[in-house]
Each structure stands twice: as structure tokens, then as C-alpha cells.
Amino acid sequence: MTNPIANSATFKTTPKWKKAFFSFEALLVVVLVVEIIIFNSTGTNFTTRDNLFEILRFSVVLGLLALVMTPVILTGGIDLSVGSLLGLSAIVFGKLWRDAGMDPWLAAICTLVFGAVAGGLNAVLITRLRLPPLIVTLGSFSLFRGLAEALTRGVDNVTGFPESFLFLGQGYLFGVIPAQLPIFILVAVGVWLLVHQTTFGRSFRAIGFSPEGARYAGIPVERRVAFVYILSGFMAALAALVYVAHYGQAKADAGSGYELLAITAVVLGGTSIFGGIGSVHGTLLGLAVLAVLRRGLTLSDQPAELGSILTGGLLLAVLAGEVLLKKFSSRRARVKTNAQVSQITPTT
């Protein structure tokens, strides 16, 4: 048990730069720099402009999911269904375009609406029936993927999309900037603003820290939580469009396992799985650490398994390091003060 009086004193005297220096984000920047230095020496053509853009290009689909996972986890929830919904949305889009004969852009809009509705299913179960998000989205994880397989009988692969649509995922603006990058930047800025600059983001944190406290402050908790899951569904659909445009095909297995990668990026980015604490720029850094690691290893001719092993190890090391640091200093301890003095913080 740390002494909160001392903490508030630290709070008073710690200058801003010092806080920033010792922040979690700073730790990630260090990890990132270390990665870059290592891969610069071990990898071929690692520090080149093209490589930078390629890393970004391949981070977009996962990045979209990670970005929207941030507010979800901030509210103390989780969405395991995004990867499956990506697959289902890809199929819906492909079917609308090919089988229903829609214009690809109209089909895209319908797919986005579909994604939001599917997210709404999670939202309804979570807010109306007060079910734990972990379980609800575990169920919809199976359901969405199952529906995608059922719709295509698993076999059907929609391809042959028009060039204008494929440009979204394969083209380069001015010959160098990947076409999906502006979308990603737009969404990143949008989510960043949402989380850090609006009352919505404020509400998400308040709900994450204390749903009851938020309710007693007149925050419409159910509506905010529902919004997050609907947004998550919408974003999964957007990610599906980019995915389809990038790979030129819509198939039921699109996006398998992406939910875990997205959660990893978010948690690695310093967002507390219990909710309340976290930032979008942290998520972007976490994403960058993952993406650089993956690509750096391939450029160093190392197998992908090593990347996954290191990712898992890094995740544990970063979290454990944080806890251990907390025991010695008092980062975040000042935040959780006497309220829970006698309580063991419940997990899960």
C-alpha cells in the first residue's frame, strides 16, 4: 500500500516533461527505437522510404480494428467479434456487388451500414441484457464467421472487382503514398479526436473507471456503450472494404485471428484491460511496435513464428514490468487510492 499523501506531493512537484519522459508511451518509443536500430543492422533495406510506406500499408486493416478497439476497451469492454465481422462484411460486400449487381460504392455504403447493425447486435445484448461483453462477443465471434461460411458455403470467393475500387487497396497516390493510408490517417485522427477531445471520450473513460459513477453523473451509460460497439462494427466493415480492395478478393476466412492482434496492439499501447486508462496514440505506438517487429524479422530473414513469440513475450514483459515498477515508484498508484485500499482489485 503506497502512501497517497506522498503521492499527491509527487503530483505537485513532478514537472510535465518528467511525467512525459517516464510515461508508458515513452517506454514504447524506446522499444520502437531499439527495434529500428536492431533491424537496421540485421535487415535488408529496412530503413528506406518504401519500407516505411509498406509497413504503413500493411498495418491499415489491423490498425483500423485496433483503433476502434481502443474506445471499446476504455469502457471496460472487449470486442472479440471484429475479425469475424470483417470476414462477414467482406462476404456481404462481395455478394452485394456481384450477386445483387450493385455499384461497388453503393455496396460499400451498404456494407458499412451492415457492419454497424452487426455491431448493434453486440450492443443490444450487452446493454439491454447486461451480459458480459467477453461472452457476448465470443458468441458473435462464432456466429459471424459461421454466417460468412454459410453464405458462401465456405467455397465462394468473390473476385474481379473493378480497378477503381481496387485502387483503394492497391494503388499509390503520387506513385508513393499507398491509397489506403489517407483513410487510415483520417480514421486515426477521427478516433483520436473522439477519445481525447470530445465528451464521448470522457464518458468512455468514466464508464471504464466506474460505470455506476458515470451513471450517477448523468452520463447515458447504455447509449455510450452501445455507440462504442456499433462503431466497432462499422469499423470492422470499413476494414473489410480495405481488405477486399487490397487483396482483390472477398472470402469467408478474411480477418481470422485479427481480433487478438488488435487487442494485443491496444494493450501493448498502454490501455488498461480494465478500462479507463489508455490513449489512441499509445495504440498507434503499440501497433507500430508490432508491425515493425513483424516486418523487420522478415527482412532479417527470420521466421514469422519468432515474431509471434516475441509479441507474446513483449506483451507479458511490458505488463509485468509496469506492475513491478508500480511497486517501487507510484505510477498510477496515486490514481487508485483509498477507494480500493482494502479491496483486491477484481480481475476479468
Binding site: 461472452i135 458473435s140 456466429l143 459461421g146 494485443t264 509485468a320 476479468t348
Partner: protein
Amino acid sequence: MKKYFREISVAVALGLLLLVLAIFAPDFFKPTQLLTILTAAAPVLLAACGVALVIMCRQIDISIGSQFALCSIFAGMAAGHGLPMPLVMLLAIFSGALFGAINGAFVAGLGLPSIVVTLATMVTWREALRWWREGEFVRDLPGSFQWFGFSQSTGQIVLLAVAGVVFLILVFALKHVSGGRFVYAVGSDAEAARLAGINPRLVTFCVFVLMGALTGLAALLNAIRFPDVDPKTGTGLELQAIAAAVVGGVAISGGRGKLWGVLAGVLLLACIAPALVFLRAEPQWERAIQGSIILLAVAADGWRSRKGKI
């Protein structure tokens, strides 16, 4: 009756499925078919019991599929090196317990959220295994490996007996040994448990170790059904086990649930895939059906607890 509402409703669902099969596909009840389903479900049952304990303790473990695969490979390699089967079994259980202890140390020792910890260990173990084995089967095992060296029918019965005895011991221990009750106590209210002199962290740690040991045993029981070991085994087991526990009425909020319900949940989910074969249904509906069953089960829970509150 009301107390066992959930367990009974799952059992009724299972009964209905079996009834439909009895009418439309009586072949389902051939001994070879039933024995295969049961022997395939027995390891899942053990893993699901472990997961149920973890969930009752208000934690979660999604790394069991990876643990399962590693334990299978260890067991296979040990047998391949000529270790006697009892030692192989001990090794599988011990290595599982070790994996569980690693999870437990992070969760109970450092207080990290179990979902993140086990997510990390899931990925790490699975990928390490893939890197190591590159998908290669463990082959050329001695004859004493498959079915412990018994004939097939004896082996199946031995397997079921081992799983059944362990299951019954767990059921008994959870109900009639104080340590079992501690699991419920910690999951129900960790602070009240502390006041009652129980060490919640220690209980949580032990539950993870037990979970690992059960996974190790499950892996062995699964492996001995075959003459060689596939390193891909256990993929997706975590979801199967969690789904079975949840469908069987183990509350994700901790403190509640019965292993009999888990048994019903495991059997229900285990029967779906073969039932689809027997009912000549299209295979692509399988996942959608499983997802719907899980959602239905939790929605029913939500509905009931909501009605109960008012």
C-alpha cells in the same frame, strides 16, 4: 429443481437432439459411434472442467489449446524415447501444471488480467511449437502408446474410466472438500474470502495450476487414441471449453456453476458436428449453430437474472 434449472435445461436440449437423432438417424447410437464421440469428448470434458474452475474463480484461460498441443507433443516424444507410460502420463500432467503455474504466477502473483496473460501465453506456446515441430507428426511410437497398449475396446473403456474418475473426483472435491469451496468463495467475493482467512491469490494460483494439470492429462488421453501425435491438436480447444462451460451454466462473473452442467455442455457441443453428418446437413452451418447456442445460452441467463432482479 429450480436450483438445477440451467443444468437441466442443457440436459433437455441434449435430450431433444438425441431424440431427433433416434428418430431420423438411429445409426447414431451404434456403439462404435457413441464410443468415438465419448472418447473424443472426454479430454474436452477435462479441459472444460479446468476452464470452469478458472471461470468460477473469476478468471479466464484462453491458452489451454496451446498448452494441450505442447503437452501432447511432450507425451508423444517421451513415449517415443521409450519412457514407460505411467511416466509419460506424469510428464504430461506435470508439464501442463508448469504451464498453468506460469499463467498463475502472472495472474495471481502480479495481478495482471488473466485474459491478457493467457492471450500472450497462447500465442507464445503455439508459435514456439510451430517453429519447433513445423507441423511434423510425432511418429513411430511404441505399441504401448496407443490405448496404453491395450486393445481398442479396452483402451476406450480405460480412457473413459480415467476421465470419468477424474471428473467425479473433481465433482466430489468441489462439493465436499473445503479447498473446492474456496474456489467458489474467491470467485464470489475475494474480499469476503480474505476476511474468512482464505488466501485468494493462492487459491487463484492453484486453480491455474490445476487447470494446467487437467489440460496435460486431457492432452495425454487425447493423444493415446492415435498411433501418432499431430502438433496441430488442440487448436480452438479454448473456445470449445469456454463455450461448454458457459453453455453448461458456469457464470462468467464467477462464483457459480456446476461441473454436471459442464458435462452436459460438453456433450451437447460434441454431438452437434456428428449430428449434422447423420442428419445429412450442410457442414457450413456448424459454426453458425454453435455461435447461436452460446448466444442463446447467455441471453437466457441475462434474461433470467434480469427478471429475477425486479
